[in-house]
């Protein structure tokens, strides 16, 4: 185990080209101008109340898995992150040094998952994640956002998807998955642009890019459940949104607009989205709000909710329960973010023979450590992230389960990193993986006719 000081020094030593180049271009005038603009023009009563109401009692500390992972180093408590960033900016009226900003980028982008767990531990409910996002907003405007996540946002802005997936690559991938899945159901389709379908299924760009098999599985599930569904061939198919995590609210708004307009153009009843948490947050209560849509303008259903419905209504039938002992990771953005944790448990119990709870759980679960755009800051920050995820690792190990269900892409990748880095013997799975494995591969309507 590394000692405290080396940990912090290591994190301080991270060289992120995006941050370094950005910093080298900054002038003191630009720094104070941007900070003051954001702090005075872009904040309001909430920010003022949070800053003036915090009693620095430190109770938020225990909420933060990054604080716990760093042996309770006081620099990592949520309120300490505010103290070391925003409060200092206010105090110095924006006249902060480049060195300070370098730390601020690290704190806001790599040492906070904006998971909002701390607002459940603050007696006043102060939303520290909101303040960390403000720091990121400042970094965005100063152009010192970490390189990898900035590249992702650039991709979003140019292609409306996260991974520079070109328009033809998207459609081609769907058609390829459709063709492959016909091995199982010879008339299976991934209907493209089917006007008036009941469901528009949306995914995040890493699916067509690296994990096309997930689209295959989703298609099999949709087909077996006998649903009237479609996927858009045009941009708007990607529900993810890294811009919301870099404070690029403008691009974040445009992404949300593209997503909902794709659904409105297809006249669907609802959008069903794959197993992703941050994407849910982005289209459920972030991107849409910037546009002025108080709630999603088209009904939005997360995969957990959707699978729950399929399994409890009998549209998908289980052949035989999954044998291995499983545990469940509650993704912040759909448990603390949407209260889907009970439904997730019901799904686990329908699908699996033996289930071990992870503690803490439900709204109180620890973030996977990858969330909030932290994993998207890429390789330069990976070691820091792994160190910051020690508490999560211990939480995983305590379950003793061999299979870890994580119904979220970000969590999935983050947990896999933890497992590999710390040598935990666990296999991470999506609900979709397990459903696909244990389901009756028969079309619902045909089964009913029997």
């Amino acid at each position: 185990m590394q000692d405290k000081d080396t940990l912090t020094t290591n994190a301080k030593d991270v060289i992120d080209e995006g941050v370094e180049k950005g910093l080298s271009r900054l002038t003191p005038e630009k720094i104070s101008k941007v900070i003051n603009q954001v702090l005075t023009k872009e904040t309001g009563a909430r920010f003022k109340a949070y800053v003036e109401t915090c009693m620095r009692c430190g109770l938020c500390a225990d909420a933060c898995s990054i604080f716990l992972s760093n042996d309770r180093d006081p620099r990592f408590s949520p309120a300490a992150k505010v103290k070391q960033t925003i409060l200092e900016m206010i105090k110095k009226k924006g006249k902060v040094s480049k060195l300070f900003l370098k730390d601020a980028v690290r704190i806001a982008h790599a040492e906070c998952n904006v998971c909002k767990r701390c607002s459940m531990y603050c007696p006043f409910g102060i939303d520290i994640a909101y303040m960390m996002l403000l720091v990121r907003r400042i970094c965005h405007k100063l152009e010192i956002t970490p390189l990898y996540i900035q590249d992702t946002v650039n991709s979003h802005s140019a292609t409306m998807n996260q991974m520079w997936v070109k328009e033809d690559e998207w459609i081609d991938t769907l058609q390829w998955q459709e063709e492959d899945a016909r091995e199982e159901f010879k008339d299976l389709r991934i209907p493209l642009d089917k006007d008036g379908a009941d469901i528009m299924y949306s995914v995040i760009a890493p699916e067509p890019k690296f994990q096309a098999g997930l689209i295959y599985q989703a298609a099999v599930i949709m087909h077996a459940a006998g649903l009237n569904w479609t996927m858009p061939s045009t941009p708007g198919w990607d529900n993810s949104n890294m811009a919301m995590f870099t404070g690029d609210f403008e691009i974040s708004g445009r992404i949300a607009k593209a997503h909902y307009e794709a659904a409105a153009k297809l006249h669907v009843n609802k959008i069903v989205m794959g197993e992703c948490g941050h994407a849910f947050r982005s289209v459920y209560d972030v991107g849409n709000r910037w546009i002025g849509w108080t709630m999603p303008p088209v009904k939005l259903v997360h995969a957990i909710d959707f699978y729950h419905d399929l399994l409890t209504s009998g549209r998908i039938k289980i052949k035989e329960k999954y044998k291995k002992t499983v545990t469940l990771h509650d993704p912040c953005n759909v448990s603390r973010g949407r209260g889907l944790h009970e439904k997730a448990r019901e799904i686990v119990n329908i699908l699996c023979e033996s289930f071990i709870e992870m503690t803490p759980n439900r709204e109180h679960n620890y973030c996977c450590g990858a969330g909030g755009g932290v994993i998207n800051c890429g390789p330069p920050w990976k070691n820091t992230r792994m160190v910051n995820n020690r508490e999560k690792k211990e939480q995983l190990e305590r379950t003793g389960a061999k299979v870890l269900i994580a119904p979220c892409h970000n969590c999935h990748s983050g947990l896999e990193d933890i497992i590999e880095y710390y040598g935990v013997e666990m296999e991470v799975k999506f609900f979709g993986d397990i459903i696909y494995e244990v389901m009756e591969k028969e079309i619902y309507q045909k089964r009913r006719l029997k």
């Binding site: 405007k141 140019a158 070109k166 546009i291 002025g292 849509w293």
Partner: protein
């Protein structure tokens, strides 16, 4: 060209059984109906990895490894994108284009049917093809494909290559608009919302100049003024001016040629609707967070909905301003500020008669489809209703429906509906 006068407006009901197609093919994909309602077509699977198109029960002679994006053109021809031997092209009424591509998508046509356009990829390079002719120059990437009513094709293209994770290269501006394949000079960090003038000659669009400054560019001439953001611009005043929704100080304004045009600002302002070269201008606006209405010539409607206004357009004569909206989770239509109150689960943008007296739409409610005319729901319901048409003399409605596997085309006299 859609020539409604020549259509059959007299025969009562014509039927085509469609359900039996299921027995002839491995599967039949969703049906499409021609504007005149005389033809119904589907992509069908004839054999393993063999697809064709079935029109009124007749299958095209040729078949394909893949086919998708089936669409009837306004003149009644049927177009689709097809692939054989891993090469893609467009196919119209069973006749494929000569040119082959590595991929084709985003099939578009002009209202008169004289131009058919697709986005194409060939050897990893991107562009468009119009009427079987590919752009002279292809690019690294393409997005935002548009086709003017006259057949001018345009898109946002990536003019320079970009390495993985090259955020510096991105910031230098590598995107430009390309018209008929010719790249415009000025490159920007981002370009969106390509908008042609009504003659198909000039292009205006939203641009991002740097990390935080957004603006509008007319052709290759960006506005000098910067904004916090912008949405799709439109040409007005005989194509001499450009108007656009722009964001300033956290509020949305309508600007004309870099100067404020409307007085009021909003929490949101977008989806411009234009009539008569700008005599009438309307936009979807939100002045109270989460409450949506329409602003016409700087005056807001006496109307609110809480979810979304998805379409806003003027009738051809400009007498009707029509909004398709959703309130409390259900879809509806408002004509000149007045809501129909039909509360649909799904609702399509309506069609309007030439004299503005009839507005007809199709909707789904409780799992069945209806025709709605001037806010009145026609009594009969169907498994599917396709886009209705109104006769040139404004007294009949062409209703195209599907029920129990039988497609039917019927002419309803207006008094029967209203």
């Amino acid at each position: 060209m859609k020539d409604e006068k020549s259509w059959d407006w007299h025969s009562g009901k014509k039927e085509i059984p469609v359900k039996e197609w299921q027995n002839r093919f491995n599967w039949v994909e969703e049906p499409y109906v021609s504007p005149d309602g005389e033809k119904i077509a589907s992509i069908v699977n004839t054999d393993e990895a063999r697809f064709s198109v079935c029109v009124n029960g007749e299958t095209w002679e040729n078949n394909f490894e893949k086919a998708w994006s089936l669409k009837f053109m306004p003149d009644g021809r049927l177009a689709t994108l097809v692939s054989n031997d891993e090469e893609w092209t467009a196919c119209v009424d069973g006749v494929s284009w000569e040119t082959r591509f590595d991929y084709t998508w985003d099939l578009k046509f002009t209202p008169d049917g004289s131009s058919i356009a697709v986005a194409v990829q060939k050897d990893g390079q991107y562009g468009m093809a119009v009427n079987d002719t590919i752009w002279d120059r292809l690019y690294e990437n393409i997005s935002g494909v548009v086709l003017s009513d006259q057949g001018t094709s345009a898109a946002v293209v990536q003019a320079d290559p970009l390495g993985q994770g090259d955020i510096e290269g991105f910031s230098s501006g590598i995107f430009c608009a390309a018209v008929n394949g010719v790249a415009q000079q000025e490159k920007f960090m981002n370009i969106w919302d390509l908008s042609f003038d009504s003659k198909g000659k000039q292009l205006a669009y939203s641009i991002r100049k740097n990390r935080v400054d957004y603006s509008i560019s007319r052709g290759s001439q960006p506005w000098k003024k910067n904004f916090q953001f912008s949405w799709k611009p439109e040409f007005i005043d005989k194509e001499n001016s450009v108007i656009a929704p722009v964001r300033q100080g956290g509020k949305w304004f309508l600007f004309k040629d870099e100067a404020p045009f409307w007085n009021k600002s909003y929490g949101q302002l977008w989806k411009l609707a234009i009539h008569g070269n700008g005599k009438k201008i309307a936009a979807v606006v939100s002045d109270n967070f989460g409450k949506w209405t329409v602003c016409e010539n700087d005056e807001t409607w006496n109307f609110y909905c809480d979810t979304i206004i998805s379409d806003l357009f003027y009738s051809d004569n400009g007498n009707l301003l029509i909004a398709v909206f959703k309130d409390k989770g259900l879809w509806d239509i408002a004509v000149n500020q007045k809501a129909w109150n039909i509360r649909a689960d799904k609702l399509w943008s309506p069609v309007v008669s030439r004299d503005d007296t009839i507005v007809a739409a199709r909707m789904e409610k409780d799992g069945v489809f209806y025709l709605v005319v001037n806010g009145k729901v026609y009594k009969e319901y169907f498994d599917m209703v396709f886009e209705p048409q109104i006769s040139p003399d404004n007294d009949k409605i062409l209703l195209k429906t599907m029920k129990n596997g039988i497609y039917s085309r019927q002419i309803l006299s207006l008094d029967k509906v209203l």
